[in-house]
């Protein structure tokens, strides 16, 4: 069994943040039905890879929501679902009559999750956004930079993953509440707030003491310590992250390097003095790492008990990392066409009722007929007529 066996999720989400939420629900055993439109945006092969990882284990129906008959089908499906979720901007679901207030009369214990950019209230509620927009507004773009350097930020929409993963927690919490109380509810997840909630102590520090945040490159944001950062290795664009916090860490690091003369210098003797001379230390550490492959430097350092890891690119992550392979993080999934596609699995393992990839991503409208017939009792003739009228696909 899985924790969400028997839970049905009607999924209007698109792009990334919403699908990230519902893929976790699918991994946990929920029947996730994507309601899609013709010409919907995707990232190539829907079975595997990026799109398949976002849509893994879900069913897909294609409805024309601009046709009253398509909208009615969606409303009937919503009434047969436990959770209805979307990540449009605030007014879209309201305009469709698929918002919480409209669905409660159909199903009093419905859980509606609205994953908008800015939330359902507030002066900016109708603003439009994507992940990079929200990362800019919350400080990630400006402050992920070298000291005095130009902004860099995330090269991707981390905000979508932040909001998406937190969205799954919101759904689980609402399902728990319903099991305890019998009550559904409306969840207002503003992706702006979700990603802002993950800034951590830096924002609280500004709230308390004022001041101005400045970029700190790869310096530690937890215990102070040096060396701490990313160092070049042999080969093109190869790097290793190394973290030294305590004197014990430093002793193990020095031993792993074979105790070169510079490690015995007074300026590197204590945590405080290493921090004071962090720039010089970085140069010396970089001179050591530069001469060897990242894999070897990592094995040497970890062998000595030092926190170190190569900066994994896609190939390192997916094809070379023995740890993720041992965890079965990437799974090969058979498609109905007889292909095998590779998909990312859930990163948490439950010992008794494990989450797992339920299947590949669905083709657009792949499950329209089976959903219409099994959940709404539509007959073959009725479905054919709806299809010919372009209401479903």
């Amino acid at each position: 069994m899985r924790p969400l066996d028997g839970v049905r999720v009607l999924d209007f989400t698109w792009v990334v943040a919403g699908p990230v939420t519902t893929r976790i629900l699918a991994d946990l055993g929920a029947d996730v039905i994507k309601v899609e439109r013709r010409g919907t945006l995707d990232f190539g092969d829907r079975r595997g890879g990026l799109s398949g990882t976002l849509m893994r284990g879900k069913r897909s129906v294609m409805f024309d929501l601009n046709d009253p008959r398509g909208l009615e089908l969606a409303r009937r499906l919503a009434a047969a679902s436990d959770v209805v979720i979307d990540n449009f901007s605030a007014r879209v679901m309201t305009n469709f009559g698929l918002d919480y207030e409209s669905l409660v009369p159909l199903r009093p214990d419905i859980i509606c999750v609205r994953m908008t950019g800015f939330g359902l209230t507030g002066p900016d509620r109708d603003h439009v956004s994507y992940g990079p927009t929200l990362q800019a507004l919350t400080g990630y773009t400006l402050l992920m930079a070298e000291p005095d350097g130009p902004p860099a930020g995330f090269g991707y929409s981390y905000s979508d993953l932040a909001g998406g993963n937190l969205g799954a927690l919101a759904v689980l919490a609402a399902l728990w509440h319903r099991r305890r109380t019998g009550r559904g509810q409306l969840v207002d997840l503003a992706q702006l707030e979700a990603v802002a909630s993950l800034l951590g102590p830096v924002l609280l520090a500004r709230a308390i003491d004022g001041g101005v945040s400045t970029p700190t490159g790869n310096a530690s944001q937890e215990a102070p310590g040096a060396p701490h950062g990313v160092y070049p290795c042999a080969g093109e664009d190869r790097w290793i992250a190394i973290t030294i916090f305590t004197d014990d860490d430093w002793s193990r690091f020095v031993a792993a390097l074979g105790r070169p003369a510079w490690t015995r210098e007074e300026r590197f003797a204590t945590v405080a003095s290493r921090l004071r001379h962090a720039g010089e230390l970085d140069q010396l550490v970089g001179a050591w790492t530069r001469g060897q492959p990242a894999e070897e430097a990592m094995a040497t350092l970890q062998g000595a008990g030092v926190a170190a890891g190569l900066v994994a690119n896609a190939e390192d992550l997916c094809a070379r990392d023995p740890q993720l392979a041992a965890r079965g993080h990437f799974v090969d999934v058979a498609t109905p066409e007889g292909r095998t596609v590779r998909i990312d699995g859930p990163p948490f393992h439950l010992s008794e009722t494990p989450a797992r990839v339920s299947g590949p991503g669905p083709l657009l409208g792949e499950h329209t007929d089976e959903v219409l017939s099994s959940l709404l009792g539509c007959g073959e003739e009725e479905i054919r007529a709806l299809r010919e009228a372009g209401v479903v696909g």
Binding site: M1, P3, L50, S51, T53, Y100, G119, G122, D124, R125, S129, Y130, G131, P132, T133, A136, L137, G139, M144, E146, P150, P151, G155, Y156, D160, L166, L169, A170, A173, H177, G184, Q185, L189, A190, E193, L198, L199, L203, L204, A207, Q221, A223, H228, Y231, P232, W239, T243, Q302, A307, A312, E315, L317, C318, A319, Q323, L324, F330, P347, L350, A355
Partner: protein, 401 residues
């Protein structure tokens, strides 16, 4: 929400009535914070004298002291605090007894360490088969890297989060905030509520194994998928998003985030109305794929145009046209954001020891039927008396707290 009169019960959160023992250091601290926000009674179990988070910066007014760690305050909100030396057999035994009165234990010790002390998941569950035990470790409970060490930055590196951030000719950059730890905390909380839901059916608890590395890898977007489907390696490319539809540009008074995936026609009409943009006024650029391929020259044209505006003017004009532009600003701008103010994102919590209230960044989402619970972070062993009395009918054990 916060400054309620003494003796008035807080509005119930969804996890009200569930008890969580939180043995985590910074690696897993967000999990307990989230569960506390959802209403669980989260009891932080620290070693005598307090845990490692209390010595981490930033500190209030910059002065390092255990009762001034803003780092601890952020992660400690909503939790009660007790002390217990689990490295001594009597302490480990008491943890087993406390866990018999709990629904959930979350911990972030190295794999096997609590087992060696006699209070690992097996021992805790033996005394309470309904217990859910979540473990957050650098690489998970098994596999060749099981005993390897990691910081947040090292976990980000091996989880693929680092390589794609930064400028092409410069080193990769770690995230702002401890995002490998945060993702692990979120996934641990997801695992805990999932396991509690499963327990409603099975009557039994279970173990949850969360890896920092895998959690970081599960918070990527394009990296793994493009490798799986096309053998492509995503590169870092400065502020240019991998889709090539977003890039930082300059206004008169600061940085702005350009976007070419909104209403392109509206954007071009606006630029043309300003007497500019002839170089990108081409029908072919109405095609998303062409705008993607031609991103360099598209953004160059946008830069030339945006330099005429202030950030505020440009963002307002863009949002009116439903084009997702945004100011590139520092985190502290959120403190003065009228939108967040109206939504009440920051929640004031009184710190009696400081003689003042502090606005804490609040809930990651709003549940319509339950409040997000907030409360001041606990002092060292602040709740020893009440917790040991209520759970074990004893005084705080001498020599162990």
């Amino acid at each position: 929400v916060t400054d309620r009169a003494p003796g008035v019960a807080p509005p119930p959160g969804v996890l009200t009535g569930l008890r969580v023992l939180d043995l985590c250091d910074e690696k897993g601290a967000l999990a307990g914070k989230l569960l506390a926000g959802l209403g669980a009674d989260v009891i932080l179990v620290e070693p005598p004298g307090g845990g490692s988070m209390r010595s981490l910066p930033p500190f209030w007014q910059g002065a390092p002291a255990a009762d001034r760690s803003i780092f601890f305050w952020f992660y400690g909100t909503g939790k009660r605090g007790i002390t217990l030396d689990v490295t001594r057999p009597e302490g480990a035994g008491l943890l087993v007894r406390l866990a018999a009165q709990a629904d959930v234990v979350i911990e972030s010790e190295s794999p096997g360490r609590l087992d060696a002390l006699g209070c690992g998941a097996a021992a805790l569950r033996a005394g309470n088969p309904r217990l859910v035990v979540a473990s957050i470790t650098p690489f998970g409970q098994r596999g060749p890297y099981r005993d390897w060490r990691a910081s947040d930055t090292v976990a980000q590196a091996l989880g693929g989060m680092l390589y794609v951030n930064g400028h092409r000719d410069r080193p990769p950059l770690r995230s702002l905030g401890l995002q490998a730890y945060h993702q692990a905390g979120i996934f641990a909380a997801i695992g805990v509520v999932s396991a509690l839901l499963a327990r409603e059916t099975t009557g039994r608890g279970q173990e949850i194994d969360v890896s920092l590395q895998a959690a970081a890898a599960a918070a990527l977007e394009h990296v793994a998928g493009f490798w799986h489907q096309a053998g492509l390696i995503g590169m870092r490319q400065g502020t240019l998003h991998w889709t090539r539809y977003f890039r930082v540009g300059r206004c008169r008074d600061g940085y702005v985030m350009h976007c070419t995936v909104g209403d392109w026609t509206a954007l071009i009409e606006w630029i043309k109305a300003d007497g500019m943009g002839a170089e990108v006024d081409e029908p072919t650029l109405e095609d998303l794929k062409i705008r993607q391929a031609e991103a360099d020259r598209v953004f160059a044209a946008l830069d030339a145009w945006s330099a005429r505006y202030t950030v505020a003017e440009l963002v307002e004009g863009a949002q009116l046209r439903r084009i997702p532009y945004a100011a590139v600003r520092a985190p502290e701008a959120l403190l003065d954001d009228p939108h967040l103010a109206q939504r009440g994102f920051f929640v004031s919590i009184e710190h009696p020891a400081l003689g003042r209230s502090i606005p804490y960044p609040g809930a990651p989402f709003r549940l319509g039927d339950a409040h997000w619970r907030v409360a001041r972070p606990p002092g060292v062993g602040e709740h020893n008396q009440e917790v040991y009395r209520d759970l074990l009918a004893m005084s705080p054990p001498a020599g162990l707290t």
